[in-house]
Symmetry: D2
Subunit: 141 residues, 4 copies
């Protein structure tokens, strides 16, 4: 599966920026989540259906980002999404934010745990989801 199918674009909106003139750091995670939602829908596991179905939840247990270049109002940004790690009841998504010329602007990672929505107990990833995530993992170094 080509990585091109797991990219998500956005333009830095006025409300993404702050009085210092650049994207406010927390909003990077909002865009990361938009890319994650689009990725999950593309592999057949839409978050909205999952949340309504109440059989599986995938809450974040960790999030982090590194900021390399400021993003300014009007900038076009591409987000490439890959699966960086996959375990029995947990997976890691990696995000690379790049400018149109390919320059790396920021990177991020989110770790998601699989739980039962009602009790909060860990649960193995359903085989179909694990297989779809496996197909989108990063190429080995």
């Amino acid at each position: 599966m080509s990585s091109a199918s797991h990219t998500h674009g956005f333009r830095v909106a006025l409300h993404d920026t702050d009085a210092a003139g650049v994207l406010f750091y927390a909003h990077l995670f909002r865009h990361a989540h938009d890319a994650y939602e689009a990725f999950m829908a593309s592999i057949g596991w839409s978050l909205d259906a999952m949340i309504r179905g109440r059989e599986l939840a995938l809450p974040l247990v960790h999030a982090e980002a590194d900021y390399r270049r400021p993003m300014r109002h009007g900038d076009h940004v591409q987000v490439a999404v890959t699966v960086a790690d996959l375990a029995r009841a947990r997976f890691t998504i990696r995000y690379r934010f790049t400018a149109p010329g390919g320059e790396l602007l920021a990177s991020a990672r989110t770790i998601h745990a699989a739980i039962h929505p009602d009790g909060g107990r860990p649960t193995p990833l359903p085989p179909g989801l694990a297989a779809a995530l496996w197909a989108s993992r990063e190429p080995a170094g």
Copy 2:
């Protein structure tokens, strides 16, 4: 009941502003809602308990704001909340945003309809809530 009990203060945060250097207009409604939540809790009708109880919902059917003076990063703002109108299954909240010296910075209104959360049918306001809102209505002009 003194109007002092229905005020809510905030400081304009960096993430409230945008690259034009002032509070982004949509964030005024976020602060209005914080003031509304605090007001509802102060009259004994916390929104969180209401949403969990699933017996009554009060969705917004209208929101509006007038912006008089720009609000800048670090500014202290007071929000005064009053009940501007009250009907059988609907009420209007008015918000006045002022600077420490009393200058009017912005005003807003939200109209809330009482419905059953599950079917969405209109329902009369519970008598206790109607009475509490009535006690907080604006003095007649």
Copy 3:
């Protein structure tokens, strides 16, 4: 100019919703502003260039919205943007939010005043901008 060129689509993201399960009302204005930014860019008046140029600012002096149908996580929404009113130093943008089948979900209006960014004095709209807005005005009833 066809109205089709002034539409903007979005999918209701998880972060657009709240614990009541529907789009939080203030976020409608964020999406309205995204549609406004896209509209302004489409007529050659990108807000980012305008804000950096520091020759003209178009702050909102009024915003309002009517909410007809709840918008839920995952819903596809189209925003149609038109110019509802145009004066010497002020204009009104109207937004219609519709479902894929055409059902009206919400509508909104924003009024923008033309000012000098530094002093805040009102200033007439530049002729090129006034002409572009005029070309996008709503058909007379």
Copy 4:
């Protein structure tokens, strides 16, 4: 200086939550930044004055959070802010989010680099700021 002076409280607002019923992860960073702004003001280095002064900027180069317990609408949360690391042109802030009973809900870290706002070149922290941060560092293990 007692750590009590570096705490910041908030109540989880409706707009902090999402359709899964808990605080949306990116909003934790918004609250972390509110706590950081309050901390910086408390040591005499208000971010708003700094951004307007245009002599020093402290952009984030890294942010991360660990989520232990879901935060729900209406929950009271305390944020304790400490300086976890301090170097010549960079410092790390640590945030501990706790429930009223002291239970750890989440923790976060942000790393800030000192730069000249105009060119973006690294610059040493001003001695007064370095001293104030030093006074707020975490006790050695």
